[in-house]
Symmetry: D2
Subunit: 267 residues, 4 copies
């Protein structure tokens, strides 16, 4: 019997990219709210998701410094499992219900890429960095205080694809500001067989169902984001028309499930 | 209509990890023949593949310096598409027919990882290097001559997983020495839905059907390989009992198809 | 007038690896106390430093997750300036005064490497990781509590050179436990001119004079360290005979000076 | 006695970044000729070098895929010693003699960075790639033929700093086309002692004296180069006014000496 959740499958299941769920996550993150051209958002949505015209292209860009673990103390092998991530969530509607859709996401670790793909996150590799906050603050970085600045950046294929900045104003006291609409992704797996290159082996609308979400040290303020035009890349089509609030916080959650909303191959 | 062979799917299909096939490849490679414990080989084989007891654990380890292109001059964006690879092929039987099975493979590029997964190659990320041959040889490297040495190495998750060495003896004049048995892989895609973590969304035996294979500058000699014991890794279970011939050559081929031999979910 | 503290020197001084001091640093770090063979420590000491025979090879191994800034908000460009570090400090005597000497140090960033060299730290590049603590703790990592575990690792040239583990027992209430003996380094710069390869352009004993050192969130417990034998590397000659206490804390300081103790070229 | 040409210095001299010279090099390279604004070239020249007003800002940009070795078969440890490089050479005059000066250079390896610094090359780390030519050509890359294209790119600090393209026209039959003017560099090493931040420990005009230069497979054609404007970088001040010929070739040489022309600290 071969074991392993992801590739490779081996007798003992140690070489696999990831242990089976549950998957535990903790992170520091930056969140920049922005509005893209609504037509650019609409053009990215898969069948089954609709643009919410009332939201004017409302979206969020996020930079995460993650630590991952399964049930085998994977957090004690940070060279294999720790990672950084950038992604965009655009607002959409699924059967009239507000959801978020992830058209672009980049990580710097293969285990994270594999977990993401199994959740419908269309991950590529990238180099992601964000300014850190340390308990022993000095002049090397921001404190958690009004006016403090945190920056994030993404590079992939050698090109700078995104830059973000969050300037803190005040701690978040209203927890509704941290409420996340459900993330609905397009789970896609291609088929290489000749004649079937446009008939994916898998194509489903799936809903992420994280639980035990905890958020700490949350501050809110102003956000800014740039998505420069780059060769061979379309992410700049979402370049902000304007930016909104910025958040910097620490969070944790658990992933052990995924809900299929619709099998798009049967359309 | 969203476009892209792999993730992400976008309106113009430029951001995708890979263009649709055909996929063109060229490489310089090292091949080290070795014999693993037959029981270690048998333990790695998926349902449908059998150990060839007559071959005594016969296997090959390969280091490749690849250049990839699709139909859009992707070879002119080497930062995004050029890559290096290490993999192992163990000999097996499929319905009595000699085939090769790939239990371990590592690349340093996400486009290559995605293409590999769609062919059933269980790729993880790693850092792979091999000694190069240059037209302007000096003392910085080997010539193509008897006694010349080429080394390869693989590191993943911060651990050195493999080291190989090929010492040239003579040019290959018998093309049968370069014949490759067909590669049969386990195409596997997990299912994250609760209760289905052990019911993969995809699990098929697939046969790779490369074509237009060309090999140039092939030399043969002696090979050596080490697969050190590492934490959280099983590849060392294939550590050579003995090593055989070594090959160093340049090759190219085309991939645009994959043949499904058996759907293992229906077993 | 060309500007720049380190290479390259340019008209505006923007391309330089580093702005001129003062240099500001913040970090989370792990510290593992250990005892190496005293003869291995003695063999590493430069002229002017002596082994303290009473200390039995006492040394420390440290893993740092750094944020750096100069006076131009460099902390807002983490892709260029944030970095990770591993180093060893062996105890020694300078004219009978207790000091620490750094024989091995690795970082993953060129600006850090350049600053280090100008302080006599013999930096090479490596991949360094340590377990992180987040304000929003979950099962993805440790809390700051008795029994919590933090791991660190170093890989360089594709080989795993060091692994450390700190298991927390209690917060540090006695600040003397965090006192650092002064670091005395060998500032060395070679001379490539023919006939002078063994006559360095610079060779000085230098003392680091950090100031405004702050330490927060310090916990103490048990430490463990391994320094595996690797090809082409001597760091394993310091492999611990035994290990002692382990510390995990956050710190910050400022560097803007270096004191030359002795010019060794004049010996 | 501590041994090692570069840091670190150890009892056996194995951990050092580099063995002592002689240093052997082989590479494939791309060379794009271009003309920058003469004032931008003049602004980069150190004391002792003058602009050749007759040359109108003539410069070259070069992409190299290197293999390095010392006398200990370092080419068999490519994970530690193989590397890629991008640099610019601007034409200048030293006491009326035509020379080249290197204001910008980037490599992806620490041993290469250390050797470069000891020759006055102002190296930073970057990710450099160039299109490869393989003996087994297919559609994955160019052949050595009229119209074949080779591309190169440089990324540093997460920003794309340079892109080049060479389109082949014909093999080089006139060896004078490959003649290289001597490279004169600014050897610079800063001083961290307070009050001396602008008094470098070393500042010399040095001349590189490579020997046993061999060039093979040289083709000439058209070149193009872009140096995009990037944050915190000045290299774009050299952006081409126009581009000239492009070369693609393989070369090897030996470095074991450096000639000091003038000690600039005594000016």
């Amino acid at each position: 019997m071969l074991k392993g959740f992801n590739y490779p499958l081996t007798p003992k299941g140690k070489s696999t990219l990831n242990p089976p769920p549950p998957w535990y996550y903790s992170a520091d993150f930056l969140n920049v709210e922005f509005w893209a051209h609504p037509s650019a958002v609409a053009a990215l949505l898969p069948p089954g998701l609709d643009l919410d015209h009332s939201l004017d292209g409302h979206s969020n860009a996020l930079f995460y410094d993650w630590q991952f673990s399964g049930d085998n103390d994977e957090y004690l092998d940070p060279a294999r499992y720790q990672y950084r991530e950038f992604f965009i969530l655009v607002d959409a509607l699924y059967k009239g219900r507000p959801v978020s859709y992830c058209p672009y996401i980049f990580v710097d670790n293969d285990a994270a890429l594999a977990r993401g793909w199994s959740q419908g996150y269309p991950k590529r590799l990238g180099q992601v960095f964000q300014t850190r906050y340390y308990a022993a603050t000095g002049k090397a970085g921001p404190t958690l205080a009004t006016g403090a600045k945190f920056a994030g950046s993404l590079t992939a294929g050698g090109q700078r694809l995104a830059e973000g900045l969050v300037t803190l104003q005040e701690p978040i006291t209203d927890p509704s500001l941290l409420t996340q609409t459900p993330v609905v992704n397009l789970l896609h797996y291609p088929r290489l067989a000749a004649g079937k290159h446009d008939q994916p082996a898998l194509q489903e609308l799936v809903e992420n169902v994280p639980h035990d979400v905890k958020i700490e040290q949350a501050w809110i303020g102003e956000g800014s984001l740039t998505l420069p035009v780059c060769k061979g890349e379309e992410i700049s089509d979402l370049a902000p028309v304007r930016c909104g609030k910025g958040i910097r916080a620490s969070m944790s959650y658990i992933v052990d499930d995924l809900k299929t909303l619709r099998d798009l191959r049967k359309l």
